[in-house]
Structure formats: C-alpha cells, structure tokens
Symmetry: none
Subunit: 211 residues, 2 copies
C-alpha cells in the first residue's frame, strides 16, 4: 500500500517477479486498504507510513484488530525512532526502508510468514539499543535494598503510588503515627529527604507498583 501511484505500481511489478510471492491487491491509502483486505485475504501487507487520510500506524492497528492473522511489514522512507516504535506497537512485524532491494522485501515477507522478522539493519540497531537501555527490572522477590524491612518497603510502595500518610494508615490498618515512624526509618536507611525522593528511589529499585 502506497499513496504514490507510480511507486505503488512499480513496486507491484517488482514483487510479481519474485518467486513464491503473489500480489493480491494494492491500495492508495489506509481506508482503501482496510476495505480491500477482507476481499483479497492477503497473508502479508506491505504498508507505507505516510499516507493521506489515515497513517500507516493507525491503519496497521485497525487492520490487526480486525484481522490478527494478517502480518504487516512496514516499507517506508523514514526510520526515526518515533515512526519505528509507533509502527511496531501498532502491530507491524517487519520494518524496511525504501532503499531495500526486492530480495530484501522477499526475505522480510518470508520471515513474517514464518513467524520471524526481517528488519532494516539500522532499525535492528535501534531496537537493540532500546532493549539495552531498558531498565533491567529489579527482581521483585526478596532482596530489599539498604536493609529496608518488609513493612517499610510496603509503606514505600504506597508512597510511590501517591498515597498520603492518612491513606497509607487506612490501607495498612495501622495508625498514622506508625506510618510516620516507618517513613522516618526508611528515609534514614535510604538517605532520603522527602517522599518525592522516596518515589524516585522506589522506581529506580523496582519497588514501585507497576514501575
């Protein structure tokens, strides 16, 4: 799918030449694509990101919602992080730039049909770095930092959830005075000044609920 007619028709011709690959349809924009897919039942959709009326990411999202079995390979000129992650989150499983040759397109299509992926090498690098930069997610089980007790960690988790002392007291069914004691103790142990720093500490050590 591509909004530039010349590009699209050239691409169709190119793809028809490839063995093991059959072009069942072509669309000029997202809305046309969504109409076309139920008719022609493709296994794989090649998707441009920049299109009029509905962009590729949104089209991909709707396409996967309606037809989860259809695999989407993005084929676009842009390879910025924004586009890449938006497309992949929308459900695309391949991502090629338009300087990819016909053989690379064929490999990518074959890969997604086989449950794998074939991405542009630069995109692969972006993903590698995104994964490498992701937090190593501290193990939830045991091992509290700085000698915090279970109760203190529990209070800390509630602080990280934005609860006030009174709310924490209600949550744990203890008095507010006790909450303050726990807080003072954990502040001393973790060298924290106030609850704002405590929230940050909780996130960095994986003690925040869902963080």
């Amino acid at each position: 799918m591509d909004d530039q007619t010349v590009v699209r028709e050239g691409l169709v011709l190119l793809l028809e030449l490839l063995p093991g690959l059959e072009v069942v349809g072509a669309a000029a924009d997202g809305e046309e694509a969504l109409r076309l897919v139920p008719e022609v039942r493709p296994e794989v959709v090649l998707m441009d990101l920049r299109m009029p009326r509905m962009d590729g990411a949104e089209t991909t999202r709707r396409l996967k919602a309606a037809h989860p079995e259809v695999e989407v390979v993005v084929l676009t000129t842009y390879a910025d992080d924004e586009s890449i992650f938006a497309a992949l989150r929308a459900g695309a499983r391949g991502y090629l730039t338009k300087d990819a040759g016909a053989d690379e397109i064929a490999r990518a299509v074959a890969a997604v049909r086989g449950g794998a992926s074939q991405l542009d090498p630069a995109v692969q690098r972006r993903l590698v770095e995104a994964v490498a930069a992701a937090e190593p997610r501290a193990p939830r089980a045991g091992g509290l930092p700085d000698g915090l007790t279970r109760r203190e960690a529990e209070v800390l988790a509630l602080i990280a959830r934005g609860r006030s002392n009174a709310e924490i007291a209600a949550d744990l069914v203890i008095s507010e005075a006790t909450v303050k004691t726990h807080i003072n103790n954990l502040f001393a142990k973790a060298a924290l000044r106030d609850r704002a720093q405590a929230v940050s500490y909780a996130y960095r050590h994986g003690l925040a609920p869902g963080g």
Copy 2:
C-alpha cells in the same frame, strides 16, 4: 571466541575464507578473551554465551567497559529471551544462532562495523515483540503529555530528581514563587495532588531524568 576447540578452529577457517574479514585472534573463554583483546585490537568480537569460567554476557560487559569501541556479536546455540536480553544489555550489538551461515556472519560483522545491526530473524521477532509490548514511553523530544509546557516539564523533571522548590529555583535561576506557579499549573493539568504523585507521573511518562 568459543570453548570447544574444534568448533572454534572450524569457525576460524570458515571466516578466513570470507572477503573483507580478517581473524586476528581466538580465545577459549572469557578471561582469555579479555587478555587477548588489548593485544590484537579487533574491531568486532564474535562471542559465545556458554563458556567456562566467565559467561559471554559478563565477558561482553567487561569488554565494553574496557574497550567501548570494540563491537560484540553474539554467536550461540541458544536464543531464549533470557540470553538475548542479557547479551544485548551487556553491550552486544549483534546476535546470531549457530545455524547462521558464513555469509550471515559476514553480514552481521559488516553491519556492526557500519553502526547497524544484523540479528537472527527469530531474535528480531523477539525484539519487535518486546518493543511492542513495552509501555508507550512518551517521546523525549516534544509531545508533552496533558498539555504541559516546556517549563513545566522542566520543573517536573527536577521534582522527579528529588529537588526542593528552593533548589529548583536556583537550578533554573528563577524565584521560588515562579517555581510554585509552574508546579501548581502542572498539578492542575496532570491531575496531581502533591510532588510524590508528580514523581510517579514523571516516571510513568518518561519525563524523569534516567527513568
């Protein structure tokens, strides 16, 4: 680098046959590799993950710490999530399984030398799915949530760093009154009650420095 002598020597022979690729050394385990690298100054290191004495991830971590310019491509039989993410977090920029052909190894080496990556297709799929499943990390450049202004986001980032109002005022070279104004505005926009909730908000939206 590989601990099985036969495998290692066979690999060396294979790689020597590839154009544009020169084998400058081979090691049986991580410690030997760390000794060898400063001597032979490789551009790219092929790394097995399962090795005696020091595993590939740890070796990669130390190698990148001592020689950040050296690129590491993992070449292993295992492609479970655990191994993949551990290796990439350790600093590897390529990941191949041992059913990769010589040409794929050559492509991977060339890719990392060129600042890109060439991963095993199955590994690519794992990364794509990891990224797709990851929380929609708000884009750092532009696109602030809930209509926050740049200044408000700046103040928020400092709050998330645990700074007091007075410290934030000093950091931004404005009065504390202005800081309080920004804070009140961003609290209203983001529906926050206090700075503890603000820190949590900052982390969830990727506005916290390093979070």
